[in-house]
């Protein structure tokens, strides 16, 4: 058995990693919808979901069950191939883009196979991500065209035009980082930002503040989120490209949207905010206790909050989860080796969480662009600014070399 596992470790280890990542990402997607509804509700002075489970925590589960059991009608005269293919393409590409994201610095060996935190650490990972983004248009365009409905078609057309336009500035805004790093590999880009051990002072965000602004705006447009959610502008197009989709196929578009939000946040973290690196100088070892300092009070609060409910949640589940959080925090204090391993992923996911929160925050704050405003903003403002940023960065790098 062990012999078989060792022989095929190069296949088994990645498959297990992929299975874990898909499970984690789907769970995070589900709870991202919960977080989004809660945050927007609180910004608008409402409560948000609070009926299913404590704080509405089981709402994503209920939504999932609903999505599976709903009727799934197919529009008459729909193009069957395009109609069925579209949600699968969208979800598959959104998931694939997470395959090249490095989540931490460690390399570990399982069954004699050296592996990284993250599925594949390839030397052209940034190009792979752009290739996947380039193909992402098809899912939405085909969904819009295949549904045989005027709202879907208009949504699909808008979306293809929008994604083609903003892809240019998205790619160009990253060139500045590439010029600084001289490498397409995401893990090398992160490692270079940590040179000197000065913490956040050496991150790419400071030399590339223009690049980051262009990148983040175009990335929001690429993921079709507010204020660039014209493909599904509900007041004009019913629901845009997914008007004719119901049940699980609709849920797949939804999951894909949240997954691309996650991958864009990961990319922003890696390219401009030092990925898994700590923002503090390397000498400040006391900051390594930060995961425990956050986890233990949070776990205790979950227990305190949970015992108010006089049912299964209050008596068993929430205190159990709280104890687990606090226990993990305490264990990290007791075992310094484990604490060191956790540092990278801790900072990575903390930064990604901040970006995801900004996404939700913006949805609650900003109104939607008009279509002509969207196009002129992309072509007449973002694109020239990104090109200027490339020229500026190249000039400064050349000037420093001589």
């Amino acid at each position: 058995m062990i012999e078989f596992l060792t022989q095929y470790a190069y296949l088994i280890v990645p498959i297990v990693k992929i299975a874990i990542l898909v499970f984690v990402v789907l769970t995070v997607d589900a709870y991202l919808t919960w977080l989004e509804r809660k945050v927007i509700a609180h910004i608008q002075a409402r409560w948000g979901p609070h009926r299913v489970g404590p704080h509405g925590l089981l709402q994503p589960l209920a939504d999932g069950v609903k999505a599976i059991f709903k009727e799934d009608p197919i529009p008459a005269n729909a193009d069957k191939v395009a109609y069925f293919l579209a949600p699968f393409i969208t979800l598959m590409l959104a998931m694939t883009s997470l395959a090249v994201i490095p989540f931490g610095p460690q390399k570990f060996t399982i069954l004699g196979y050296e592996s990284t935190v993250g599925i594949a650490d390839v030397n052209i990972s940034l190009l792979v991500l752009f290739a996947i983004t380039a193909l992402g248009v098809y899912g939405i365009a085909l969904a819009g065209w295949g549904s045989n409905s005027k709202y879907s078609l208009l949504g699909g057309l808008r979306s293809s035009a929008q994604m083609i336009s903003y892809e240019l500035s998205l790619t160009l805004s990253v060139v500045g980082v590439l010029l600084i790093a001289g490498d397409f590999s995401l893990s090398n880009i992160v490692t270079q930002q940590g040179d000197g051990g000065k913490g956040l002072l050496t991150w790419n965000i400071f030399p590339q503040i223009i690049g980051f602004t262009c990148f983040y705006i175009s990335a929001i447009a690429e993921t079709n989120r507010v204020p660039f959610d014209l493909p599904e502008a509900e007041s004009e197009l019913v629901a845009g490209f997914h008007t004719e989709y119901a049940s699980m196929k609709f849920a797949m578009f939804f999951i894909a949207e949240y997954t691309s939000m996650i991958s864009v946040s990961c990319l922003a973290t890696i390219l401009f905010f030092g990925g898994w690196l700590s923002p503090f100088p390397a000498g400040w070892t006391f900051t390594h206790y930060l995961p425990s300092v956050i986890l233990i009070p949070f776990g205790l609060w979950v227990i305190y909050d949970g015992i108010r409910y006089e049912d299964l949640f209050g008596r068993i589940l929430l205190p159990g989860v709280g104890t687990a959080f606090a226990g993990i925090g305490a264990a990290l204090l007791l075992f310094p080796t484990a604490n060191e391993i956790v540092q990278g992923p801790f900072w990575f996911f903390a930064k990604v969480f901040v970006f995801l929160f900004v996404y939700i925050w913006m949805r609650a704050t900003l109104p939607r662009f008009r279509y002509d405003q969207l196009m002129s903003f992309g072509w007449k403002f973002l694109l020239p600014v990104s090109i200027a940023n490339v020229v500026l960065t190249a000039t400064v790098i050349l000037w420093r070399m001589h």
Binding site: L127, A131, T133, A134, A141, L142, S160, I164
Partner: protein, 166 residues
């Protein structure tokens, strides 16, 4: 059979099936989708040859930019299915013999050179992308700039043609 050979045959089969389906499909969108499959399979073949940069660019430029434009235009025109016609006389009397001749030529070339093909070797010190860009911007800088100038001329020509009415 080693893994690369198996992957090669799978990708080659996908590429050929995609190309055949491109011709046989009756709907323009389905043809365009088949062409995308061919492009992605070709990118896989480039990857197998060890040129990861060309593979990524193949997907970004051909699979992404160019084919999105095709699909976009077909969607805008919203054309229906095409009708099948009989072969034209030209295709029967000139096309089929020419196709057979080209196939024979390529087959003969492969049979004659199978043993003497040089094996591609990767430079260990430089990555593929660096090698490529160094070559483009030093040794082949004039052809490179001329090609981009040619594309610029083509773009300008398209704009002039599109605006002739005014």
């Amino acid at each position: 059979m080693t893994a690369p050979i198996v992957i090669f045959f799978v990708l080659a089969a996908i590429a050929i099936l995609g190309a055949v389906s491109l011709i046989l499909q009756r709907h323009p969108i389905h043809s365009a989708l088949s062409l995308i499959v061919v492009m992605v399979a070709l990118a896989g073949l480039y990857l197998l040859l060890g040129s990861e940069f060309v593979a990524a660019v193949q997907i970004i430029v051909y699979g992404g930019a160019i084919m999105v434009l095709f699909v976009f235009v077909i969607m805008l025109l919203n054309d229906g299915e095409e009708e099948r016609t009989n072969f034209s006389k030209l295709a029967t009397f000139a096309g089929i013999p020419l196709a057979l001749a080209i196939a024979g030529l390529i087959g003969a070339a492969i049979v004659h050179s199978s043993s003497s093909l040089p094996v591609a070797t990767a430079n260990a010190t430089l990555t593929n992308t660096k090698q490529l860009s160094l070559l483009i911007f030093t040794e082949f800088v004039y052809p490179f700039e001329l090609t981009s100038f040619l594309i610029l001329v083509a773009i300008l020509g398209a704009i002039v043609l599109a605006q002739r009415e005014n």
